[in-house]
Amino acid sequence: MTGADMILEALEREGVEFIFGYPGGANLPIYQHMPGHPTLKHILVRHEQGAAHMADGYARACGKPGVVFATSGPGALNLVTGLATAYMDSVPMIAITGQVASTMVGRDAFQETDVIGATSSVTKHSYLVTSINQLPRVIHEAFHIATTGRPGPVLIDICKDVQQADAPHVLPERLEIPGYKLNGHVDLDQAKAAAVALAGAERPVVLAGHGVLLSHAEGELRELAEKAAVPVGTTLLGIGAFPVNHPLSLHMTGFMGTGWNLKAVQNADVLMMVGMRVDDRVTARLADFAPKVKTFIHVDIDGSEMGKNVRPHIELVADAKKAISAMIPHLPEPEKSRGTWLAQIDAWREEHPLRYTHSNGQLQPQDVLIDMYKRCRNEAIVVADVGQNQIWAALWWNYDRPGLFLNSGGSGTMGFALPAAIGAKFARPELAVWCVAGEGGFVMTAQELSVAVEHQLDVKIVILNNFSLGMVRQFQDDFYGGVRSESDLKHMPDFVKLADAYGLPGIRVDKFEEIGPAMDAAERTKGPFLIDFRIDPEANVYPIVPLGKSLNDFWEAPEV
């Protein structure tokens, strides 16, 4: 069997359905043999970054690893941003790149790049395959590593001569990776201690991150919260881990989180952080993060997260679902004063609601999202880009379960939304998929419109067009001396004509009254549809914590 066939056969055995890829000199042998493996559906992208984001969106939407093909050199390098995006957000992905022939490696051959070197900081693991005998084992290992423990992208760089070599196909025996240990068991003493500390606290708060979604622990989290009467907030990536409409919900935390969430975090005496990295966007100024907490509880499957940013008093290095399940039977009755704490949070919710300006006659992005939410409720996937559009889409929507809000949280990759939405649609064809992007991020990967049109994917594209890099402009106004430097997008394409050029319908919306009819048209249309919403260029994201300040110092939207 040829190496190329071994690769494709291994993918079939791993249950792969879609490959997002782009052919080129160093992976042509794989493409030559692809027709012999018709169960693998190859999606030809227009740029390799698009492939990586599609695989990422696919994986986030259905939980299965996304698979990417690219050729050597520039092809592989174009994946780097997409790999980094997946790595920062712990998304399982397999990237298979062609490499120059093993005898040519290191000679600066045509389209040769040290891909392992270029990607090792943005992959969970990587392999350079120089012999056909390594192939079956490496691919099997790669899937195991990408999908277990804390998931992440794994890159397999396969020399062209390996793809063309012939060898008997020896199926991999059982996996033996001495350096790869999974944190399987939950320390029961720590779980009990955590349960007692949380339920016994006067002012407890739970924050849930992406790890809760990855381990499907949302049911257990809800049971824990209700039994212990503890309010729950989520990180940006943890959205969906706890229903926003739940009476115990604190909605989103962090430096653009809700006022009542930040009040709760800053006044908590026990803070449990589950499946999250506790990064700077969550803590704002670290020295002032949750200053009244006596007991930090941290649950994460990755032991290196313990104490990386905040030193916990109780640590549970384990899968979130297992850890929370182990805590639940040991929860004592909630502390008597809990009613007072929850009433205080309700008061903060009243005092610091989400609000926005809608009196200046201009189209407000929140109006667009509120209309969308009324239509979609929790029957659609929203894929946001990066910037103001991302935070508006996170806050102005009451997500009630995992997998409905996808975004590049850790890496903050502009251009993520369109290809990720395409990947999500391949993963969940039964759900409506809405791509929400600013015009700046949208044009970074707009060429993937071709893929949406080619496959007639029902992806609705909402451009929140404010003629500028809105988040940059807002930061410049508020934190960089009011100097609006290079944040105006003075010339952009006519997006309706651009849609037409790509072969999909599109309309422009300037007024509040036009939102509904435009959305109706989008919903009525089979296949992709684009709406260019010309929004208030001065619209800002609130609440926001000024850069370098503590969570206490959040700014709210001006009173309406």
Binding site: S120, L128, P178, G179, G303, S304, K308
Partner: protein, 156 residues
């Protein structure tokens, strides 16, 4: 750099062409700094032992071990900092002086004697090797190479 930022780690890794670069890349991107390194075969075929002295930089010091453990190529990390250990370094030097009696007295061994100088080797802990190198200067040192430490827990 202060002493309490330093971690002494004995790390068993898979023997592969990419391993050293994966380990050193991780150390760089996490803001750590290698102060000393020594690499040699381990008891297991296919595995190599690295002894690393690493400055944790601005990170929590236990991050050095924890981050190394995340690498799939890393089989085992033992943090030997502050433990009762044998820590040995090797120095090889060529000196001009003819009279080497005080170097010999310290435990140096002559490897080669020629017209242009004498080459000696000396092994000891970091302090001993440091003092030996100071002593060499007084003998007109022409060339000196020094290894990183190899470190092992003291047996009971």
């Amino acid at each position: 750099m202060t002493e309490d930022r330093l971690r002494v780690l004995s790390v068993v890794v898979e023997d592969g062409p990419g391993t050293l670069s994966k380990v050193s890349g991780l150390i760089r991107r996490r803001g750590f700094h290698v102060r000393a390194i020594s690499v040699g075969p381990s008891r297991e075929a296919g595995q190599v032992r690295m002894t690393l002295t690493v400055d944790a930089g601005h990170a929590e010091v236990d991050q050095v071990r924890k981050q190394l453990e995340r690498l799939v190529e890393v089989v085992e990390v033992e943090d030997l900092t502050g433990h009762d250990v044998h820590s040995r370094e090797l120095v090889v030097a060529t000196v001009a002086a003819a009279d080497l009696s005080d170097l010999i007295e310290r435990g140096a061994k002559v490897l080669h004697s020629g017209k242009k100088g004498t080459t000696v080797e000396f092994a000891g802990d970091g302090t001993e090797v440091g003092e030996f190198v100071d002593e060499l200067r007084r003998h007109g040192v022409q060339d000196v190479v020094r290894s990183g430490p190899v470190v092992m827990r003291r047996s009971a």
